[in-house]
């Protein structure tokens, strides 16, 4: 990794010596820091994926692909499939709930909008563990939900709500729903409302106007929201552990275990690479969707 300050300083002759000095002074420390504490660590993880496991954690300097082969074993493939399923379910639910909510806020009179948005993000600013813990309380067999159901006579015995896949999805949804609503709201707020008026003036039904105008124009916002929800859901290991109770293992738990318990760092590195690969794929999809939508509106 070359320091970008060094590569750019050779280029433009027009910039005086003074400017070059300031450029290095401003950009240098931060870029060195990012390189040292992000780029180098991530490069190390990448290289560990191709090395043999050391006896006490760490690695031996010997090239191998066996870590990748290990990831293809059925046990680990099923964990990966399970994680993708849970993260996808969370994202779809967040989209289904977040869309009408963002739409409702965008349609509010402007003096209400800020308050409505603050009320959405407020829980997000509280400690993540506390928010997850709240669901441990809520879903407990002696907890408020079961008590209410039993006192209303709907069930005779407490339902096993905690330590299920549904509990994990509920916890993730609770943690990341605001991250879906904010970008959706932003895309609705930015939308040119005169397009809707034009459509209805030209005789389109309200549904038709929504489907042909609002929906495609808010698709990039929905994609960003989907990324914001999917990414932290996929790598999460706290919610599956606390609300899934060890029965629901996700790829995040597996990675954590390789690094802190099993001490198989190369295998952990491979799993982390797989996780990041899915995220890159998602980002590419988002870029594709937003380019298509922008292309359509500029043609119109």
């Amino acid at each position: 990794m070359t320091t970008p300050t060094a590569t750019t300083s050779g280029g433009r002759g027009a910039i005086g010596r003074r400017a070059l000095g300031s450029r290095a002074a401003f950009l240098g420390p931060g870029l060195v820091y990012v390189t040292l504490f992000m780029a180098v660590p991530l490069a190390l993880v990448l290289s560990y994926a191709f090395l043999k496991r050391g006896r006490f954690g760490g690695v031996e300097l010997q090239f191998t692909l066996e870590n990748f082969a290990k990831a293809l074993q059925p046990t680990y493939l099923s964990v990966l499939g399970n994680s993708l399923l849970i993260a996808t379910a969370t994202t779809v639910l967040a989209l289904l709930i977040g869309y009408p909510v963002a739409y409702a806020i965008a349609m509010m009179p402007s003096r209400w909008r800020t308050t409505a948005l603050i009320l959405i993000v407020l829980p997000f600013w509280t400690n993540f563990l506390v928010r997850t813990y709240a669901w441990m309380v809520l879903l407990n067999s002696e907890g408020p939900i079961n008590k209410a159901l039993m006192s209303m006579g709907i069930v005779d015995a407490p339902l096993p709500l905690l330590y299920t896949r549904g509990a994990v999805i509920a916890g993730l949804l609770y943690a990341y729903l605001p991250l879906m609503i904010l970008p959706l709201y932003a895309s609705m707020d930015r939308m040119d409302r005169s397009l809707l008026e034009a459509a209805t003036n030209l005789g389109a039904s309200r549904f038709r106007a929504f489907w042909d105008i609002t929906f495609p124009l808010t698709l990039p916002g929905a994609m960003i929201g989907a990324i914001f929800v999917f990414v932290p859901s996929l790598g999460n290991f706290v919610v599956p552990e606390l609300l899934g109770g060890g029965k629901t293992v996700m790829v995040g738990n597996l990675i954590r275990n390789q690094f802190l318990k099993a001490r198989d760092w190369p295998f952990g590195a491979v799993l982390a690479l797989v996780m990041v690969a899915f995220l890159v794929l998602l980002f590419a999809l988002q870029a594709y969707v937003s380019r298509r939508v922008n292309g359509r509106t500029s043609h119109a």
Partner: protein, 256 residues
């Protein structure tokens, strides 16, 4: 409000979904019973127990040390970076590289730093958590300050230099005062993020100096305990106050 029609229903249900779990925690924190779910009357007993819990107190002190240190370092580095990005480069790639730590999944950064610190034989402790929190903190400060810098006229700085002020004095007398609201907002953001950060701290902390989130994690892993209810209620109060204060502050700086 009335013109929202049926859209009011999903909105109200979502607010209920967001706030009922919090409300339940707060109510149970005042429960006198030592059984977590059996209401036997109002009591401040668990708050008293909380203030006498040595592990929680030490965790809180550790967290404050990390958050204060990381905020100072991240604010200095992030502000310099933002000015550098806005004034001295046009490279979008460079900007993306500098802001990347804000987007990289926390688990990836966490294992990267664990591997890195062990590679260079660095003992884990509060100092490694602090260094780790600066990485993403710096990117958040840079992002907030870069957004503001576009609204500040660069000719003010040029005029200062043309009139004979040194680069250093121009920086402290023109650039920094103009950016002050954004720098403070960025610092507050890093401080709040660092206080709550769990995943990276969990991987880069040593065993003898747990931060508060790590203490909470080790408590809730073994189930529901009333002391955690009280702690949760207090943390909720702190973060709600902080958010409302930040909102007030932002509005004030807009008005100025």
């Amino acid at each position: 409000m009335r013109n929202l029609g049926w859209l009011r229903l999903p909105l109200l249900l979502t607010y209920a979904f967001l706030y009922i779990p919090i409300a339940v925690l707060v109510i149970l924190s005042f429960n006198a019973s030592k059984f977590p779910f059996k209401w036997t009357g109002f009591s401040l007993h668990w708050y008293d127990a909380l203030f006498h819990d040595a592990a929680i107190r030490q965790g809180f002190i550790n967290t404050l040390i990390v958050a204060v240190g990381a905020t100072i370092l991240a604010t200095v580095l992030g502000t310099l970076l933002a000015i550098g990005i806005a004034r001295y480069t046009r490279s979008a790639l460079l900007e993306a590289y500098a802001l990347a730590p804000a987007i990289v999944p926390d688990l990836a950064l966490a294992i990267g730093l664990l591997v890195f610190f062990s590679f260079i034989h660095f003992t884990l402790g509060l100092h490694t958590v602090l260094l780790a929190h600066v990485v993403f903190g710096m990117a958040f400060v840079a992002a907030v300050v870069t957004a503001r810098i576009g609204q500040v006229d660069p000719s003010l700085e040029e005029a200062s230099r043309d009139l004979g002020a040194s680069a250093v004095s121009t920086f402290f007398r023109i650039t920094v005062p103009n950016l002050a609201p954004a720098i403070i907002a960025g610092a507050l953001l890093v401080f709040t993020l660092s206080l709550d950060e769990f995943v990276i701290a969990y991987f880069t902390d040593g065993p003898s100096t747990p931060t508060l989130p790590i203490v909470i994690y080790s408590m809730v892993r073994f189930g529901v305990t009333p002391v955690v209810n009280a702690l949760a209620a207090l943390l909720l109060l702190v973060s709600f106050t902080a958010v409302i204060a930040m909102q007030r502050f932002a509005r004030l700086s807009d008005a100025l």
